[in-house]
């Protein structure tokens, strides 16, 4: 099956710093989503981005499908950005289920 790897596994930032999270996948995908899981466990949709670049406020994402990776950029981080960031892909050879990476745990300190 497809492998989805996220890096780094853990990240600690000072408030105001920028960061880049990476998601590599081992096969072609139909779709890719980025989620933020807040400390209460809720999964919040960040981006639906099978290819290209999107921006939403301080966050942006880029997926290069031909090279099998996606990047999530967080600029001017805030303490509320803390939580776990998941990348999930819809593998072309499976049903429409999402296959999740193991996440990047982010802590933003004031």
């Amino acid at each position: 099956g497809i492998q989805v790897e996220q890096s780094p596994p853990d990240l600690i930032l000072q408030e105001g710093a920028n960061s880049t999270l990476r998601c590599n996948f081992s096969d072609s995908v139909n779709n890719l989503q980025w989620f933020h899981q807040n400390p209460w466990g809720q999964l919040i949709n960040l981006f639906y981005i099978p290819s290209g670049t999107k921006q939403n406020g301080r966050l942006s994402a880029t997926t290069v499908a031909t090279e099998r990776y996606s990047l999530l950029y967080i600029s001017s981080s805030q303490t509320t950005d803390s939580g776990v960031y998941f990348c999930a892909v819809e593998w072309r050879d499976s049903s429409y289920k999402l296959i999740f990476g193991s996440g990047t745990r982010l802590l933003v300190r004031p």
């Binding site: 466990g41 998941f86 049903s95």
Partner: protein
């Protein structure tokens, strides 16, 4: 509009008992998915519904797990004879159509004592 809702939010049960978990998808979403998240881990796919049919049940861990969907709306995940390894957060997601962006509910935290 309303998002995906799940009930109960928490469920504590004794080993061997049966439990039912409910998911109400976003109105009009034809596709519905169940996932499981063990403590500190990513999400694992369980089952996918298109309308009331389940084309992919490949993630159900054992025959103790079953799910149904009625009226192309609410879905119920049933776990029979619960075991301690079933303890996890069970999350439901829906999408407007198969392969579309998935939106998740808040989950049901199941604890099997």
């Amino acid at each position: 509009g309303a998002g995906v809702s799940q009930s109960p939010s928490n469920k504590v049960t004794e080993k061997g008992k049966d439990v039912e978990l409910r998911c109400d998808p976003i109105s009009g979403h034809t596709a519905l998915y169940w996932y499981r998240q063990r403590l500190g881990q990513g999400l694992e796919f369980l089952i996918y519904f298109q309308g009331n049919s389940a084309p992919d049940k490949s993630g159900l861990p054992s025959d103790r797990f079953s799910a149904e969907r009625t009226g192309e709306s609410v879905s119920t995940l049933t776990i029979q004879r619960t075991q301690q390894e079933d303890s996890a957060v069970y999350l439901c997601a829906s999408s407007p159509l198969a392969g579309g962006e998935q939106f998740f509910g808040p989950g049901t935290r199941l604890t099997v004592l």
